[in-house]
Amino acid sequence: MQTNTSKHIHGWLLLMPAAILLIAFTHYPTVATIVNSLFSKGTAIRPSRFVGLANFERMLDDPIFWKVLANNGWFALGTIPTSIALAIVMALFVNRSLPGRSLVRMAYFTPTILPMIAVANIWLFFYTPDIGLVDQIASGLGFSGHNWLGDPRTVLPAIMVMTIWKEAGFFMIFYLAAMQNVPPELEEASKLEGASRWYYFRRVMFPLLMPTTLFVLINAVLNSFKLVDHLFVLTKGGPDNASNLLLYYIFETAFSYFETHFAAALTVVLLLLLAAMALLQFFVLDKRVHYR
């Protein structure tokens, strides 16, 4: 009996460091955010009070909220499939023996190492009208300059291109690792059977990569909502919110407008969105993934 109790204590003590960190920095803030989202903005003159779901009702009437949500949807759609496809192509390319292979691998991975703020500062000058790299190349080909970040129609695609460039190399590493775990006998066998390279990729390689694809997909979806560092440098969400994303709007609301309670309500929406997507991926896609 005595040993049983001490075993329990021992177990809980082992659990404690992780539990304390998780509770202090994950669970408590989450609960606090949800509670905060039910109160009104407080100032010294008008203290904060319980308002129920008023913050969420206001969100429904807030055109900017809908705008940033739509932007975020396009941003996710525009970046995730392309960067995953690109990552697979790059991984296939550097998985073969070719001269200077490690150099190419490193080159592909470089964008991932760079901090997002530094990347954004570089791309800010790429996109600068007339004097930027993009326009200089375009003018060499006979096109006239374009104000990439100053035009509401091109600003979001411009940011997507940069994000894909930044993310694809990171995902490539996972695919490369997965591909090196695929036994070479499979390829030899399919060659003997007369399968084409494309058929081998489609029916053998790609299904074997599915666990990696699921992992990468989850990461990519989270990143498309989590990564907004570049907006601080590139556009600040402009022009006229054309490139504003949900998390950046939350930051603006909390620290520029000091409406921490409305920001908390927005955060709750973001949390729900991410949770819903993670669950969807785990329970729906997971069934279709083949684990060895």
Partner: protein
């Protein structure tokens, strides 16, 4: 277990108390946050001035903490206030005044000054620099790192276009006329660029002032976004790109504009005086600096940071803070600060010092911002300032990119601003 925790807590408490009493005995301790919004080694300059102050005032210990940009500085100062470890004074954005008053965070200087000499000191600064620091009949902010918008122009480009390099455009019509001569049809050189990202409302404040209308009232509870002269100003800004074709269409990036100017892609740019030193160092051509042109009158908003004293302070700390602020804004120090950074001297007396007089004689463009002060107005600042400002930013960008007409965009922004500001009237 429990006992150990209690002992540990007690230990922490005792050491905190010991530190606190030690501080009270030795000297008045001040914590000050300050922001840096432009490039350059500004932190070392501030640290240097603070060190000089402590040498002259051994009974005051100042901890000057660099706190990032204006936004960061405000967030950090307010967070420190809430956590119970407040700063006693800080340099923060001059337009934060209403937010700080509403949070009940700062105290008016009128309640701190005692002698007549100190009261006179409040009036020793340029009046237009005080506009953003005064409301409800009291003074809440003392100007420190302040700037205005000026017009930088490429004299070589002026000569090449057959324009007199010593006569920069002084009116909107002259600006358009000169811009047309300066613009190359192949897009290799534009006539003028006015940045419309980052701080669109600031540039717009200059245009509306020139058109004879300010953007808000002195109590910070009414905006005039849909006033015909304000609409006219936005119409003019838009037409520079649309109708006259002397400025690129769409928005123009604040961050890369200086590079555009230095590479000769635009012959004229409107920018903060804070860029003066950088342009002086890097321009490979003959450049000039001039006041902004006039429509009905000349005009520019001021910008930059003010000193504030926080409310949660003891009388001793307030006195010490006053001494520090007086030291840092004294004519001598202000002159030194202006020469090293490009910010303006904050009082007429600063420009009367020997050093600054000599500097202006050698580099006359250093005085353009001062001469323009006569026409200057306050920077946009109201209650709910973040949101009210963003409404205007969005309206400007919507008009410049052509998604709304200036009139529709500004009318919409005004309606929303009215809703936000109604409770404060």
């Amino acid at each position: 277990m429990c006992n150990r925790v209690r002992k540990f807590g007690l230990g922490v408490l005792v050491s905190v108390l010991l530190m606190a009493t030690a501080a009270v005995v030795s000297a008045t301790e001040l914590t000050m946050y300050y922001p840096v919004a432009v490039g350059g080694p500004l932190t070392t300059i501030v640290d240097g001035i603070v060190a000089d102050f402590m040498k002259e005032n051994p009974d005051v210990k100042v901890k000057a903490i660099y706190a990032g940009n204006y936004n960061d500085a405000r967030i950090k100062a307010l967070a420190a206030l809430k956590s119970g470890q407040p700063a006693q004074l800080s340099v923060m954005f001059s337009i934060d005044i209403y937010e700080l008053i509403e949070q009940d965070a700062i105290i008016a200087f009128d309640d701190v000054v005692e002698t007549d000499a100190e009261k006179a000191w409040l009036d020793s600064f340029y009046p237009s620099l005080m506009e953003n620091g005064r409301t409800a009949g009291k003074t809440w902010g003392i100007p420190f790192q302040r700037s205005t918008i000026v017009m930088y122009y490429n004299k070589d480009a002026f000569r090449a276009a057959g324009l007199d390099p010593d006569k920069p455009p002084a009116s909107w019509d002259e600006l358009v006329a000169a811009g047309k001569k300066l613009t190359q049809s192949d897009g290799s050189q534009w006539g003028v660029m006015i940045p419309s990202t980052g701080y669109p409302y600031w540039m717009f404040g200059a245009l509306t002032m020139q058109n004879g209308q300010v953007l808000m009232n002195g109590d910070g509870n009414t905006t005039f976004y849909d006033h015909p002269d304000v609409v006219g100003a936005l119409q003019f800004w838009k037409e520079l790109g649309d109708k006259h074709g002397i400025m690129p269409k769409g928005t123009i990036e604040w961050g890369t504009l200086r590079q555009n100017f230095l590479e000769g892609k635009t012959a004229i740019m409107w920018h903060s005086t804070g860029n003066l030193t950088a342009v002086k160092k890097n321009a490979k051509f003959d450049f000039g600096v001039a006041m902004l042109p006039a429509s009905k009158r000349r005009g520019t908003p001021t910008g930059g940071g003010n000193f504030y004293i926080f409310k949660k302070t003891t009388p001793e700390e307030r006195k010490a803070a006053m001494r520090l602020i007086k030291f840092m804004t004294s004519p001598q120090r202000s002159a030194e600060w202006s020469m090293k950074t490009g910010y303006m001297g904050v009082s007429p007396a600063a420009y009367e010092t020997q050093q600054l007089k000599a500097y202006v004689k050698e580099f006359p463009y250093a005085a353009v911002a001062r001469d323009q002060l006569e026409y200057a107005t306050a920077e946009l600042s109201t209650y709910q300032t973040g949101r009210v400002r963003k409404l205007l930013d969005d309206a400007i960008q919507a008009a410049l990119t052509g998604s709304k007409t200036p009139e529709a965009a500004l009318t919409e922004a005004q309606a929303q601003a009215d809703r936000l500001l109604k409770p404060y009237r």
